[in-house]
């Protein structure tokens, strides 16, 4: 009996070790092989470029761009039917990856840890992230790609109408989001911070919070889902400022920034961007 167990254990270990080995080697080898082929086929100039890229250290050196996101923020990012992150941001970053010629690997993590993880656990982050001065102290941002407006989700029978009405209320937010920071500034407000925007919304519906502050598009999705219970109000009514979504990148990496901004610009010019907006944002429907 003991021998059988020992054999089984040894077998599992061997298999798992083999699995680790093959996945990492294929992950690195495949893009490298592609690069070599391209270099052979293309002109000398291109060949020189590849050499430079190979020499350069940094996020793109291994041909894989690790992108952090938090897939609880529809329609920008959410878990698709197959359980992997999907949404406008995911489609956009994959298109950008294609333009730059790197493989995009998505990592789903808590929103609040995204900024801190850039440069260590992830290369860049795309997560409907608003450009703020505080975040700019730690990371650089790409050109903005979307206007962010904060919305206030209210129960249908709520009497909250103005910024002053928000004072002293219990406000549900997703930890680390712009809504979180706006709510912190509201006098006497009691914050309930959630890891998932969807949980915050559930608790608003359950009557555990007076309102919820979140970006426009997810607010509309949630409102659509609970149309008999919630109303979504434009943050302009509460004099919230309009801000922009951008991709967060390691501070001072101008090379990467140029590549990403260039790709973004190209996507906007060739119409891919507008197509993605239509596919993922305009036509998004909550189940």
């Amino acid at each position: 009996m003991k021998k059988i167990v020992a054999l089984l254990l040894a077998g599992t270990m061997a298999i798992s070790l083999a699995a680790c080995g093959s996945s990492s080697s294929s992950g690195e080898a495949a893009p490298a092989a592609e690069e070599t082929e391209e270099a052979v086929e293309e002109t000398e100039e291109a060949a020189e470029e590849t050499e430079e890229a190979a020499e350069a250290e940094g996020p793109l050196a291994d041909g894989v761009l690790t992108v952090g996101t938090n897939a609880t923020f529809p329609p920008f990012e959410y878990l698709g039917d197959d359980g992997t992150p999907d949404g406008f941001d995911m489609a956009l970053i994959k298109a950008i990856g294609e333009k730059i010629g790197v493989e995009v690997e998505i990592q789903d993590m808590e929103f609040s840890t995204l900024v801190q993880s850039i440069g260590t656990k992830i290369d860049i982050a795309i997560a409907g992230m608003t450009v703020t001065p505080e975040r700019q102290e730690t990371v650089d941002f790409s050109e903005p790609y979307y206007d962010a407006v904060q919305y206030v989700l209210l129960p249908v029978d709520s009497e909250i109408r103005t910024y002053e009405d928000l004072e002293g209320k219990k406000i549900a937010v997703q930890l680390g989001t712009t809504g979180n920071f706006i709510a912190e500034e509201i006098e006497g407000a009691e914050l309930a911070t959630y890891d998932k925007a969807t949980d915050a919304c559930n608790d608003l519906v359950n009557g555990r919070a007076d309102c919820m502050i979140i970006d426009k598009n997810p607010a509309e999705v949630f409102q659509g889902k609970f149309s008999d219970k919630l109303v979504a109000v434009d943050g302009a009514q509460f004099s919230f400022e309009v801000e922009n979504y951008a991709i967060a990148m390691p501070k001072g990496d101008t090379e990467l920034a140029e590549k990403i901004n260039g790709a973004l610009q190209e996507l906007k010019e060739d119409g891919t961007f507008d197509q993605l907006v239509e596919d993922y944002i305009t036509n998004y429907s909550a189940e």
Partner: protein
């Protein structure tokens, strides 16, 4: 050195953030204390249920209920129990501390039941026989002879269980309660600096638990004073 001080200033002093940590510690302690009280109550009852025997010396229906309860609670993660309690069972209750205390109390009850059962079993059967021979009823024997000794046996593991429980409450951030861990998370999110808030919170937990374990140690020694005469 100056760098560390400025990190400390940002994480604890600026905007009076230290108050947040204290409030968070308050939430953590409240949940731990209420939950352990509920846990000891449930645990004692369940332990007695599990030890109940009919006249033929076999387990009763109470034994079965207690066993099922203990199996279910020990067989599921406490995070899931908390989420189920918050989002499913007590969906309409917005008193977070109450929901968390109940959830952790029910969870702790299963472990406490086994601790107390072990404590009771460790009391020599001769004690029960002696009590019954002296004319005490079986309840009186339990109440005045077995349980006091059982409690003394169970005290070290019970203290251990309380400390475990205190640390386990760190997951209540899942349901938006601002306990000590959550506060550290909030501060690190607001300042984009993880080192100070997280290490700070760890130090606070450590100090509180060190104080508690010292107090428990004193209590234990007091209870043992009568042993070696």
């Amino acid at each position: 050195m100056e760098n560390i001080y400025s990190m400390f200033e940002v994480a604890f002093l600026r905007k009076n953030r230290w108050q947040l940590y204290f409030k968070g510690l308050g939430v953590t302690l409240q949940i731990a204390v209420f939950a352990s009280l509920i846990g000891i109550l449930i645990g004692t009852v369940v332990a007695l249920m599990k030890l109940s025997r009919n006249r033929k010396g076999k387990g009763t229906v109470f034994t079965a209920i207690a066993t099922i309860y203990i199996d279910i609670i020990r067989g599921t993660p406490s995070v899931l129990q908390l989420l189920i309690m918050w989002f499913v069972i007590m969906k309409s209750c917005s008193n977070g501390i109450l929901v968390a205390s109940l959830s952790f109390g029910i969870n702790s009850g299963a472990y406490v039941a086994e601790i107390i059962r072990a404590g009771i079993l460790a009391v020599d059967p001769g004690q029960t026989e002696a009590g019954r021979s002296l004319g005490l009823s079986s309840f009186q024997t339990l109440r005045y002879i077995v349980l006091p000794q059982a409690f003394k046996n169970a005290l070290p593991p019970l203290c251990n269980e309380f400390i475990t429980l205190l640390k386990e409450t760190a997951i209540v951030g899942y349901v938006a309660l601002a306990d000590l861990t959550r506060v550290a998370n909030q501060v690190s999110t607001a300042t984009y600096e993880a080192f100070m808030p997280l290490i700070g919170a760890a130090v606070i937990y450590f100090v509180v638990i060190k104080i508690l374990s010292t107090l428990f140690g004193i209590l234990e020694r007091r209870l043992r004073q009568g042993d070696s005469r």
